[in-house]
Symmetry: C2
Subunit: 436 residues, 2 copies
Amino acid sequence: MAIQNKSDGRYFLLDANQIVKKISNREISCESLVRSCFERIEARDHVVKAWSQLNKSSAIKESKKLDKVQKRQLLHGLPIGWKDIIDCKGYITTCGSSIYKNNLALINAAPVSMSIRSGAMVLGKTVTTEFATSFPGATTNPHNPLHTPGGSSSGSAAAVADFMVPVAVGTQTGGSVIRPASFCGIVGFKPSFNTISRYGVKQVSDSLDTLGTFSRNVKDTALLLAGLTGRKEYFDISKIKPLKIAICRTENWNLAEKMMIDSIYLASHLFSKNGINIKEINLPDVFKSLDSAHHDIEYYELSRALQHEYLTTPNLLSEAIKMRIVTGQQIKLSQYHLASELTQTCKEVIKEKIFSKFDLLITPSALGVAPKGLTSTGDATFNRIWSSMGVPCITLPGFTGSDNLPLGIQLIGPMRGDVEVLSKALWVEKLLKKSL
Amino acid sequence: MAIQNKSDGRYFLLDANQIVKKISNREISCESLVRSCFERIEARDHVVKAWSQLNKSSAIKESKKLDKVQKRQLLHGLPIGWKDIIDCKGYITTCGSSIYKNNLALINAAPVSMSIRSGAMVLGKTVTTEFATSFPGATTNPHNPLHTPGGSSSGSAAAVADFMVPVAVGTQTGGSVIRPASFCGIVGFKPSFNTISRYGVKQVSDSLDTLGTFSRNVKDTALLLAGLTGRKEYFDISKIKPLKIAICRTENWNLAEKMMIDSIYLASHLFSKNGINIKEINLPDVFKSLDSAHHDIEYYELSRALQHEYLTTPNLLSEAIKMRIVTGQQIKLSQYHLASELTQTCKEVIKEKIFSKFDLLITPSALGVAPKGLTSTGDATFNRIWSSMGVPCITLPGFTGSDNLPLGIQLIGPMRGDVEVLSKALWVEKLLKKSL
């Protein structure tokens, strides 16, 4: 990634908390920060291809406006990258599809408005796979351009990892936040379902779609989340040492790469050494069908969400997504209901049987490092059931796997326990930085 | 309403099932039906004001196209009225606000696409209150123009009641489907949460917004629901006699008008006479706070959903909605979480304690008849908790209250029990028609 030490003016290296502090103290201007981000983008994006749309002059104009505002908000002057299924006024929302190459957004999506209310600004739109499903965009992994950055929030993860923007927003239906963050070696957070508003975001599955964040540290995640929700409670956190963590063996555990499993046990060993109670658990049997329930719900709901495109411009859809739509249309109502009921049962079981005993679960963020090649964004096996559960998941970097590529470990907490998960992730992050 | 007997060519009097049958059998053309609907609209809408936007030439063109299609789908040729917060391609989605007077929809909302896939067509857009909240539109009650039609789906209810369109679609966050249907004397159905896709619909509250239907009989409700979801299971129902029905006394029972309570007991007496087991119940104590939880969730989520409008054009918002946004912004995260958790608890309690013992609940659809005056669309006291529960609710007409205005009774079933609720409502509808 060719990042050495921060020298004067290389503001793009600053993290989000440093940025809002320095802007608030008038140490740097919003404009100089944005110009620095664009310098980095201009130097690097021909390789990383994280951005689907940028408007430098408009961004600089916006930063100048923010420089003139006296009252400084929580996110004042913070530039944010937005996954290109999220409407940002004045930008085209392509959804990673040629169908929407001219789809100019006339209003901001609700989370964009919330961030603007907190003083943030749009830096640009980041590459998404086609309609946030499987067909990849052009983005490469900042650590090695021959490898995928993961997806579907490919550009958001890569742009933050490559220091082109301090923070970015993406969405997860299966594993589209946690997996790319892990592959790119940054912090990815999928909060509890419906924590960040989804209004103005292209839909895949109403029951599953969850907005999430990308940043380079946990404190930045907390800051961004507070801005996106207008609730400072997310930011006012301090480190909390977890008491009990369970290593959670899920279905397909055996598919994980050795270095991923090693990282999980290495982290667990560190936890244990620091006095945290560690236990290894299997999920109750009812979870065995959860992955298949996720499939049924996603495909059933995707087939109606994309019905307009399927009816009017099927020739502009990939074969992969058409197959999903056709499959979804054929799912029987009773099968969809069974899947919804099983999901609800699992939510109740995990609350009563698992999170009554453990603060956090630890589990792989992905099978392993980012696979080579750009035709697939990787496998979401270790993410889908957590998307179904709606529980907060965070992936923390610090580990390394094959090809010297980064690996993330995933920490999972109970529904609406986001503040506690972030507080404990802050503690874990410090431990990992000290120990690895 | 000045409807006498159906004479030749007065196709607007036909119900949805008759329409699709006659169109399928080539007894009538889609075009002649649409022309007949427009005749009725031209005769009546200057009083009822149910429509916010109509495009007669485009609708007739569409009907001619459908006449040429050989293969007949489930809803072939059926004209539908769409609440004006739902995107219909080529129509302006005003959301009942001057902010969106030029807001041309470029794509169809998912439920509109699903209906088109089933062969239906858009007749026009129906009047909504401002952003489907409280500030009323111009619509009057078809039974008496001095009375409200109810809201927020005012135009959808009034247009169907006044025979201007056989069926229409609306949304309910508090009581915006069941109440106007009751006030206008027709069948209103709020299915289980997330039964009809919400994608492309202006959002009030992500946790509560539910699309629902208006029709003049239960079988039409089932037909429309099957078309909107692409699942014929909703239509393939036959009458089922309920075994056990509970009269459900909720908070604020004492606010209901005498003639509403009389109607509930009259219906219960009829059920009892027909061998149905009737019991009167109070909801468990945990439900006492549910109405306030509904308030917190609705306002918290509305304040982010409408943040763009609040930031950019506050002067074009009513004072009523601005007050809601400000109130919502001040709700603490912990209060929102408590409200969400209470709602979840109530969902589990109603499933385990109530619907394990009863097929259906019967409760008022509204306080009473449509109140006089057009400055308020009435009170949603008897609807909000059921919106929170996400359970299917249907209001059936047939009763009369003060001022000779219609009254509806509300039947409620368990989550995802929509097929059974419709089957039982079919039985109840027949009983009421025979007995009242």
